[in-house]
Symmetry: C2
């Protein structure tokens, strides 16, 4: 019977802007960072870890926002929390005064996500299960109780979600066995950063194919001529059968996106990701129509379930990219999984950053086992950076995410890493 | 030649939750607050004032966010700033690392707005003009330079905006004379708070009509039976000719909104405001279609110009309600004025709160003089609270906003008010 006794936040930053790893058309000098939260309990062996991924400045503000909401967890009994995570999520998101600062978007909404994800880490550790398994073992009734259906009932009601989950549960055992045996397919962005030379990109793309990846993604959107040349080189490097996607990181206006993508030539693109602003549902729908048969993927910056709902209603996306730390945690991401399943759209999580792979894999695995089921288009982003700092790092085998078997939700970092990269006092910053 | 030398922020909160002023279906216990910014210069007589309106908890976080961005103003020469406000706005909104925390939404975006609005206060005071006049005196070329057209060119390009402003400038002198003589029509929400008894609502509604208001607004959305009764009483109190609007403050899902509004009976509603979540463009469009001929008004929580663009593209609103402190300041609100003018939709600003009337009136007056011109549907919200704390308070004559003639942008508060209501150390809180 552990109880939450307190919390601490830490401003953790990795000086990635010193190289060009992580560079794209919009984000040219990111310092990959985590606004890191630890929920402490009266059991010295049990703590809950969550984080918000940011890219540097403002990570301190994100920590401040988490501190404003983490108090909701203090004093809660962990067993009781495990049974009431839906109510807990709603209490964080609906704080009657804090809500004004969003609503349900930006720093305060991501803070709610960090607190929720840390609480999920706590309850799944307490149950001795990895998060994906903890969620998959819940009943359909328990799962729908986790979700805030407010504002999405015109796409899916609680009853419709329940029916969907009940139908999916027939395949749970089979899907879980398949997951444990084969994992889930990953795709890689490692070759594709804009700062890389053509030679480095081609070499890394070939290595990715040799490693078994069947989808690779390149950043694009700064120069049309560069994009044409790099895509041609990449296609030659990977051959005709490996899928090739591109990511513009929101750099275009709507008509510019349509023109640019239609000018790239025939390189058989699997998707174009984030062609324009993440709030622009109508724009994404216009782009999707204007570039068919090339398809749109988006979501890493979509603020909440209401944006995703509209993207699905207007057929603005063909691949729905949830992010572990952009929205109000596991709970709101389950709403995305349900809406996508209802709409017949595959969920292909965004990852990379700091700990995003470690966290979001649980959601993709839960989706496979208990919600969306088998889907040949489901693929989870993988970027091979910073995993060494995580207590349960991703386990990629032949380009597939193998399921974590240790308890927890994935965000826990090694204490030494947290200490060394604390901004600005940790040794990695103090010595810079 | 004044120069910005530094800044300070103050967490100012008014204990309005002790009464029921400001209560509505979503916001049941607001403490009307201002995350207040002062830009200081080396001229002791010149300072710039901006604020973000919040409703209590998190106002300290909003101050922290402002502090992260206010540094962009320090060291700037005020004369030079006056000539480069467009670039200054883009530098705040596009900070390459902070952008991740939005983008362009929530606490960080509102912080950019506070810094910009304080800078506008500074440059208009330095020019000896009220903001509305400072803006109206700019050339069409100078005005379009203020605006970030990124992501809105599918509705309006810079060239189209320029043409629109040039055409409007033919009526500038005539409109300015009309403004100085007659002001702009206000409407009042004072009678309509949910916490008020029927008797108080009816009495205040009659007083509003006697004061000359031709549009009054009631909060709604908690109980359909209550809404029917209150609307019937209000209509009887104000007679058939005064316009009557209602405001649901985001309380409904989409289908619920349509059903509720269509069940209210024939009270000849002028508009229904914020029927659902502010991010839900598709939902607002469905509601607009489902409740015609009743029309939709929204915008006080719309995060940025991209949301407004889509609302206009999908005919989701018939009245566009800008807010002085929700978006990236005067600059982004000029984008709204231009998009609304192009779309033939009247701009009817949201106000109330803390200082919102004082600030947003300048934008409505600039719109009338130099952008949208004469429009019988333009009306500016007025709530008669907290004006006594402002150095240049609103001047309402016969239910019309009379233009401020003193220099500045409206956000400056009396030092004593700031001191007394500083949270939690000011005497109004320390004694509570």
């Amino acid at each position: 019977m552990a109880k939450v006794t307190g919390f601490k936040t830490v401003d953790v930053r990795f000086p990635t802007s010193r190289g060009l790893d992580g560079s794209d058309a919009m984000n040219q000098d990111p310092d990959y960072s985590a606004a890191y939260l630890v929920l402490e309990t009266d059991d010295p062996k049990l703590s809950g870890h969550g984080l918000v991924f940011t890219i540097g400045r403002g990570n301190d503000l994100q920590c401040d926002a988490i501190e404003l909401l983490a108090g909701y967890a203090v004093g809660r009994d962990v067993d009781d929390l495990a049974k009431t995570m839906g109510d807990f999520a709603r209490s964080l998101v609906r704080d009657s005064q804090m809500r004004w600062l969003g609503p349900e978007k930006g720093v305060t909404h991501m803070a709610a996500g960090a607190v929720l994800n840390a609480a999920w880490d706590l309850v799944s550790k307490n149950a001795g299960k990895p998060l994906w398994k903890f969620l998959a073992d819940l009943s359909p009734e328990e799962i729908v109780d986790l979700v805030d259906f407010r504002y999405i009932t015109d796409l899916i009601t609680k009853d419709e979600a329940l029916a969907l989950l009940k139908e999916a549960s027939a395949n749970k055992a089979k899907n879980e066995a398949a997951l444990l045996a084969n994992g889930l397919p990953a795709y890689t962005t490692t070759p594709g950063w804009l700062g890389y030379t053509d030679e480095k990109m081609v070499r890394l793309a070939k290595e990715a194919v040799a490693d078994g990846f069947t989808l690779i993604k390149l950043k694009c959107g700064v120069s049309l001529e560069d994009d044409k040349r790099r895509l041609k080189l990449a296609r030659e490097a990977i051959g005709p059968d490996v899928r090739l996607a591109i990511d513009a990181n929101q750099v275009w206006d709507v008509n510019e996106a349509i023109h640019w993508i239609n000018s790239l030539g025939d390189v058989n693109l699997h998707w174009i990701e984030e062609p324009t602003n993440p709030d622009d549902v109508v724009g994404h729908a216009a782009i999707a129509k204007g570039i068919a048969p090339v398809r749109v993927a988006t979501g890493e910056h979509a603020a909440n379930r209401i944006i995703f709902k509209q993207m699905l209603q207007t057929k603005a996306l063909s691949f729905l990219q949830i992010d572990a730390t952009r929205v109000a945690g596991v709970n709101e991401n389950i709403a995305m999984l349900l809406m996508a399943a209802k709409s017949g759209i595959p969920v292909c999580p965004h990852a990379g950053g700091v700990g995003l792979c470690e966290m979001v894999q649980h959601l993709a695995m839960f989706d496979f086992v208990a919600v969306g089921g088998e889907n040949p288009d489901r693929v989870v982003e993988f970027v091979d950076h910073l995993h060494e700092h995580f207590v349960v790092p991703t386990n990629i085998q032949r380009a597939r995410y193998m399921p974590p078997l240790l308890p927890g939700a994935g965000a826990e970092m090694y204490e030494q890493s947290v200490k060394d990269f604390t901004y600005p006092t940790g040794k990695e910053w103090a010595n810079a």
